[in-house]
Amino acid sequence: MNSTSISETVLTIKDLTISYNFSRYQAKGIRDLFVSFFTSPFTFIFSRQQKVDVLRDFNLNVKKGDIVGILGINGAGKTTLCRTIAGMYGSRDEIEVNGLLRAIFDTASVIQPELSGRENAWIITNILYSHLPKKERKAIVEDSLEFTELNEYIDSPFKIYSKGMKVRLFLSIVSARPCGLLILDEVFNGADKYFNEKISNRIRGVIKESGAVLFISHSEEVIRDVCNRAIVIGNQQLLYDGSVDGAIGYYNQHFSLELGNELQL
């Protein structure tokens, strides 16, 4: 599938650079600081900041109807890019999002393990759909709980849920209502094939009704199944932007050998 012809822009990224101060990147104790200061005070005071660029002058346009698969080796900056779009890193001056943004980066995370699946569903719904009135949030919780097919486990403590059960709950809530831009990072990991098919249909339905999706996955099969456009990120920049087959071909051609070498090491 190619990008849709509808030309409403959902996401615009212009000349985005994301960098980290590497010296703060390593968690230290006070003792480490003392040791560094007393062993080499000159270096400690005057050492230059170790800046690491994750992405440099990055540009991307996403239009309504686009389901963009993001490919790249580990550490290429896929999740960092999506978190920056979601407003979790730095400033968003270079990023423009038209419409509501909803992002989920881990479908197996726990908010309150002691509370039940139903209670955690309420928590997640309140976080993701805080702009909606309570009546509609209640409808989302009820609809999502039914969609999960967790049945008698819904009122059991969340801590006893398997990873797959958590994935079911999270994805059902995330895909309950349309939004401007949906960001999903490795969300299908852990769900069984039956639920993957079921949730894929639901996500497709949500996308049809509204905006676009950024979708991170290392699974070529899932990218092919879900996306209609794909990009490849590497060497701090956008390397490929186009069809899904083209992106997978580019990725395999340029990174499979590198990856193989890394694994051998």
């Binding site: 980290y20 703060r24 730095g90 989920i104 995370s109 209670e119």
Partner: protein, 254 residues
């Protein structure tokens, strides 16, 4: 994200925290009352009846000092590591990290204010209060809450980069409990050490409660409130500056 969104997220996290804490406990939500009441009773027993400290209206003195202290110490010791413990949620959802700290503070503030009002109502039967002083209490609560919020934000951000912060905070809170005139009057501290009380922010936050409830004096109360807000603004400036400086690296380090 709008203020309304942040308010709903904070309220949701606070209620979830409260529900989860007392789930599967025998006394349930009664622990909110029991913990400070037991602490209050033990202090009253030891210092009034065993050590026989000669302090006028000792129960009021203790109410105005000990309960705000419990709020400060429990909030900062339990929120210092909350960016680390809430790591999964912070990295998975668009939850503003400050909402996590704020929810901890609101949770502990509720735990503080319920027994505070309960003890105040019991003591008001036998003790007399100055109503102008009581009218000043909301200002004392506001300064205390904001000060503790900023201090908790600063310490929890520091903890992300320096993992010793938690141990140092626990140690300092334990030491400061004895060094801060909370359960004994300030005049017992020798003159040469009074400077340490002046620079103690927790004492500054607690002092307006003492003056409003125990020994009311309007000029002393205004002076103490200004000092209390001074410390609140100081910690606010430090916390926000450090937060902005390290925000990008915070998500990687947690």
């Amino acid at each position: 994200m709008s203020l309304k969104h942040q308010f709903l997220v904070t309220t949701t996290l606070t209620l979830a925290e409260m529900k989860a804490r007392y789930r599967n406990t025998m006394a349930g939500v009664l622990w909110v009352m029991l913990n400070p009441l037991i602490m209050f009773s033990v202090h009253a027993l030891i210092f009034k009846y065993i050590l026989r400290l000669d302090i006028d209206r000792y129960f009021i003195f203790l109410l105005s000092g000990l309960l705000p202290w419990i709020f400060v110490s429990s909030t900062i010791t339990q929120s210092v590591h909350c960016f680390i413990t809430m790591r999964e949620s912070l990295l998975s959802f668009q939850i503003h990290p400050m909402a996590v700290i704020l929810s901890k503070c609101v949770d502990h503030f509720v735990n503080f204010i319920i027994p505070f009002i309960f003890l105040f109502l019991i003591l008001s039967d036998s003790e007399s209060f100055n109503w102008t002083g009581i009218a000043f209490l909301p200002i004392a609560f506001l300064s205390l809450f904001l000060g503790v919020f900023f201090l908790a934000l600063l310490l929890s951000t520091l903890q992300v980069f320096f993992r010793d912060t938690e141990y140092i905070t626990t140690f300092l809170v334990n030491v400061l409990f004895f060094l801060t005139p909370i359960f004994y009057p300030r005049h017992l501290i020798p003159d040469e050490y009074q400077i340490f009380v002046d620079i103690n922010p927790i004492y500054a936050w607690v002092q307006p409660f003492k003056i409003a409830l125990w020994k009311f004096n309007i000029s002393n109360l205004i002076e103490a409130s200004l000092l209390s807000f001074g410390f609140t603004f100081l910690f606010g400036a430090m916390a926000i500056s450090f937060w902005r400086w390290t925000r990008n690296e915070l998500y990687i380090n947690i």
